[in-house]
Symmetry: C2
Subunit: 216 residues, 2 copies
């Protein structure tokens, strides 16, 4: 790539190219094994320029986590039409989640595996994204309860627990789907929807699984 | 503690005391912040003795992960009576899982957070334990399908996906329960059982959540 072309490209565009390259290398090699040389080469820039723009490997990785986390939560929000019934909203949210993680496997690897595996600072970045997803799902469960036109007797704590369970299930399933050849995003979304909605739907209708009587 | 008493204690017993102390410090302080000084002090031994027995901070942490992973999977297996119907087996397995993680919050923090946050070697240790739990849950789903006395039309891949989803949900919920005052192990188990069993039960009866017709 010639020097003239390099000079003409705005900083913001070049920075995104560096982040594209970095997400790919971090996602595929892992944080420890990823080299700044390789990232610079894939981005088509010099290594000093990467350091000039992104400062350090740690800062570059943090920038990757933030960008991928923002993109994932934005994709889920954009995929959901809030005027629809709760089950459709959940279905659309799950489809958007699994479509995004399938289309960005390196980004998902950065968020789900790499960021949680290499220190508390990075893990905290992912925890913030996760909290946003949990809040989003919590709202959906509350909407579902309201639509059921009854007080479903679901205490706030139970709703919070259900949202945590659903997000944990989605994370786990996305990692599995990306690692299992032939599993589509739609199939993964349908598996979780069947699992979650049948459960939630039954709960909303007031039927609960009853623990054995002898225990208290 | 006197030198005579120290000499009399068998190595295996002393090693367990060191691991007890290490799990507590690693779980509460985090892997990076944990100091070998503090671990030795809590175990009531000298720091050189910890190094003599466990070699290094990395090896000590690996030993902690292995011990806690073995204890957790053993607790789940021991909690389940295989002669019972599938829903009872799942309930007992969930109760054993949440009881163990609630009773050993430092061990669970080591497995769920610390081991995944500090490098691929440690993460691989936890992945092995997780694979064992997924296998265990997969068998339960297969048993449930058999008990439904019908071919439930659940392909092998769907069963694998359900097991991944359930384990991910349980992990997420255990972390939340331990961090939320007043949530008991039984409540966490009941929340997930309601969520999972209603969903699985409905699936086994052949009813699935139908995606909107216009999509294929």
């Amino acid at each position: 790539m010639g020097a003239v072309k390099t000079k003409r490209m705005p900083r913001a565009v070049r920075e995104q190219q560096m982040l594209d390259a970095a997400v790919r290398i971090f996602g595929q090699r892992g944080y420890m094994a990823a080299s700044m040389d390789e990232i610079a080469e894939l981005a088509g820039v010099s290594k000093p320029l990467v350091y000039l723009y992104l400062n350090s490997k740690e800062d570059l990785f943090t920038a990757c986590i933030r960008r991928e986390a923002t993109a994932l939560t934005a994709a889920v929000r954009a995929g959901v039409r809030q005027e629809l019934p709760a089950d459709r909203q959940l279905w659309e949210g799950l489809r958007a989640f699994f479509a995004h993680t399938a289309e960005h496997p390196d980004g998902w690897s950065v968020l789900h595996l790499q960021a949680r595996t290499h220190g508390e600072t990075f893990a905290a970045e992912v925890a913030a994204m996760r909290a946003e997803l949990v809040t989003f799902v919590t709202r959906l469960v509350v909407v579902a309860a309201r639509e059921a036109h009854r007080d479903p007797g679901l205490p706030e704590r139970e709703v919070a627990g259900l949202a945590e369970a659903l997000v944990g299930a989605a994370e786990s399933l996305a990692a599995w789907a990306n690692a299992t050849p032939g599993v589509t995003a739609r199939q993964a979304a349908a598996t979780l929807m069947n699992f979650a909605w049948s459960g939630l739907g039954t709960l909303m209708s007031g039927r609960v699984w009853a623990p054995p009587g002898e225990e208290t």
